[in-house]
């Protein structure tokens, strides 16, 4: 069939032509958080300044992104030239050679790294993105956790929030103002299952109640009195004074409650403060430190979303150029100019916290900076733990174990399972997984 052959030749020629004329196409996988959406919007500037590079975006929700990015890195499929990854993954991936060392790239491409000022990155955040002293990702935004509350609601009830509340005090205040009949929830807390969803705040409660996921050898410590106390406390609190349908509540849902003035307080990521400031309830919002329990440790978490370059990419130079652009001081200035200072990505650079404009627009900033600097992933639990992390444990098995346990905890929060039975099941699942992985 000569006609068919002609068609194929023509097609092949077309494809070849397309390849020849193309710019460097950099594929970026990122998460659909508001700060990243702004980045995508503003990235047209980068393309204008770098006409030889075209950016190809893949925006996913957190769970899907994690799945895709990990699969891509683990298999060396090389679909992405830049991935957005969390503080949990970065050092592990760096250690097994899935990411390019940014220190090396900075030495290799000094032009792109010029003026970046690596020393300006918050040490608390940058340390968490390094393995063996080498940096494997640059932070796009960083966060700790703290208490946000609606001062008007508390004032009307004649209550005051201490600067450093205990969980007991939080529970007292929350239940005093809890008024579902009038649409006021005492406290917004996460219950949606997921190690990055409900287990993030719950792990901080466990830490400060003296519990921990594993011991120093990796033996799970879930069916312990400390876990029982922490989970009982949390379950009781959300059931009595928490949002309806708590197992469907995660960050966005809680944010919605707080920003409409329908929740009196909320313990969650500091990054929420910027969003709340621009919300209807904004003027009423005040801040306090993350609540503590019997043990004053691990009550404030540490997290960052970061950009990294997979080891498999062959577009290193263009990818690195974008990394340097998107996390630079100039980028923060750009966001400030376009979206206002309150909206700049927080928790990444010392210089941001030295800007009077930022401090004026974000009065909570010093507290956020303090929390980020105080959170210590290396010393977050009463007894030594097998790997670093405040609201997670930096071992590959944690994702699976964390998701399974999160599921069980959600059932406990929903009142379907009692605490002791649930924790026993969780302990068994975790123990199996750790034994299968050969930890002990």
């Amino acid at each position: 069939m000569p006609r068919l052959r002609t068609l194929f030749v023509a097609l092949a020629a077309l494809i070849a032509l397309g390849l020849a004329s193309a710019q460097t196409v950099v594929t970026i996988a990122t998460v659909n958080n508001p700060d990243m959406v702004v980045m995508q919007e503003l990235s047209a500037r980068f393309e204008a300044e770098n006409p030889d590079v075209r950016l190809n975006w893949l925006v996913l929700d957190e769970g899907t992104l994690r799945s895709r990015a990990t699969t891509d890195a683990a298999t060396g499929a090389a679909s992405f030239d830049i991935v957005t990854i969390g503080a949990y993954e970065t050092p592990m991936w760096g250690a097994i050679g899935w990411l390019k060392s940014l220190d090396e790239l900075a030495a290799q491409y000094p032009d792109a790294a010029e003026g970046y000022d690596f020393d300006d990155l918050l040490p608390a955040i940058a340390d968490g993105l390094s393995y063996d002293g080498e940096l494997f990702a640059v932070p796009f935004y960083g966060e700790s956790s703290f208490t946000m509350y609606n001062k008007r609601i508390l004032d009307e009830a004649g209550l005051t929030m201490p600067d450093q509340p205990t969980w007991e005090q939080i529970a007292e205040i929350a239940c005093a103002v809890h008024d579902p009949a009038n649409g006021i929830t005492g406290i917004a807390l996460r219950g949606k299952p997921g190690w990055g969803d409900n287990m993030a705040p719950i792990t901080t409660v466990i830490n400060t109640f003296g519990g921990q996921w594993f011991d120093a050898e990796g033996v799970p410590q879930i069916d312990t009195p400390e876990w029982n106390a922490a989970i009982s406390f949390y379950a009781d609190l959300v059931q009595r004074c928490g949002p309806a349908g708590v197992t469907g509540v995660s960050f966005p849902e809680a944010l919605a409650l707080m920003s409409q003035g329908r929740a009196a307080m909320w313990v969650d990521a500091t990054v929420a403060a910027g969003f709340l400031a621009n919300s209807p309830a904004g003027p009423d919002i005040a801040h306090a430190l993350a609540p503590v329990g019997p043990v004053a440790k691990g009550n404030q978490w540490l997290w960052s979303w970061n950009l990294a370059i997979p080891a498999t990419t062959d577009k290193t130079e263009a990818a690195f150029r974008f990394l340097m652009w998107a996390t630079s001081k100039d980028y923060i200035e750009l966001v400030a100019a376009e979206k206002g200072w309150a909206g700049v990505p927080p928790g990444t650079r010392i210089s941001t916290y030295e800007r009077a404009e930022y401090l004026a627009a974000a009065p909570f900033a010093p507290m956020v900076l303090g929390a980020i600097q105080a959170a210590d992933p290396l010393d977050a639990t009463a007894n030594p733990q097998i790997a670093p992390g405040v609201q997670f444990v930096q071992i590959p098995e944690f994702q699976g174990i964390g998701s399974d346990v999160a599921q069980i905890i959600a059932e406990i929060l929903a009142g379907n399972v009692d605490v002791a039975t649930g924790l026993q099941r969780a302990q068994r699942l975790a123990a199996e997984a750790m034994q299968d992985a050969g930890y002990y």
Partner: protein, 274 residues
């Protein structure tokens, strides 16, 4: 008006009402794609509105829909052609050179179509990785061709059996080669059947999601994968744009299916019901 005629009209009205109800979600999707984002989330829902093409302009023609549709079209067409190229000679052997093993082979082929995709996704993923087929058009083309091959063999064998063998014998007496038998005798007679077969393979491939989402990430992803992640990339207002993207994704198959209603039955049952 006779009672019988009245009965028929009532029947027609009732059936059309049922049909309209079943179709309603699709209609609603199409309507929403022409609303403004604010109209799309208005409550109570807006039944009358000023149509806008903005969503189509932004989400379909200005967004990546066309790029993903290109992937889908390329994967669909190539895999269908490959399945036909492999299946046509196989059907010829099955129809005209029956042996003791023919029925067994046919049944076995059919049984491969019943293998749950989830049962083999892990090794396929590993094989794709080792052969560097992850996130490539080629990988999905090879896979979908195999997925549709049993269908092609079953259907085309059925169609070939309807061709009088005398026609082939006549051609052979004239000294026709195998190739000439294919192109001069069988192809012209089988065009409608092949078209129906191809159409069905196209529908299956176009709509496939499980393999696509697990074996591609971005570059080779078909429309189905894009539609499934569409919302993540949007802000608060996305319903109308999503409707436009979804409508664009389903329209080709809807039209193809409407045209080929009769062949659909034959194909769905792999020729068991004609």
């Amino acid at each position: 008006m006779s009672r019988k005629r009245l009965g028929t009209l009532a029947w027609a009205a009732g059936t059309l009402l049922v049909a309209f109800t079943m179709f309603f979600p699709i209609l609603w999707m199409v309507l929403t794609s022409f609303k403004t984002e604010n109209d799309a989330i208005a409550f109570p829902p807006k039944w009358f509105f000023t149509p806008t093409f903005e969503n189509w302009r932004v989400a379909v023609f200005g967004g990546p829909v066309l790029e993903f549709m290109g992937n889908t079209v390329w994967i669909t067409v190539a895999s269908t052609l490959l399945a036909l190229a492999l299946g046509f000679p196989a059907a010829y052997a099955m129809a005209y050179y029956r042996t003791k093993r023919t029925d067994g082979s046919m049944l076995w082929m059919m049984s491969t179509r019943m293998l749950p995709p989830a049962g083999v996704i892990v090794p396929l993923f590993v094989i794709f990785r080792d052969l560097s087929l992850l996130d490539t058009h080629l990988g999905l083309i090879l896979l979908f061709a195999g997925m549709n091959l049993p269908l092609v063999v079953w259907m085309v064998t059925g169609f070939m059996e309807d061709v009088p063998f005398a026609l082939i014998e006549a051609a052979r007496l004239d000294g026709a080669t195998l190739w000439q038998e294919f192109t001069r005798v069988l192809l012209p007679l089988l065009v409608p059947g092949l078209a129906a077969t191809a159409l069905l393979a196209l529908i299956f491939t176009w709509n496939e999601f499980f393999f696509a989402v697990n074996l591609t990430t971005r570059a080779a992803s078909p429309l189905s994968v894009y539609v499934s992640t569409f919302k993540a990339a949007q802000g608060d207002l996305f319903v109308a744009k999503m409707s436009a993207a979804a409508t664009a994704s389903v329209i080709p198959v809807l039209i193809a299916g409407w045209i080929a209603q009769r062949q659909l039955v034959t194909g769905l049952t792999m020729g068991a019901v004609k």
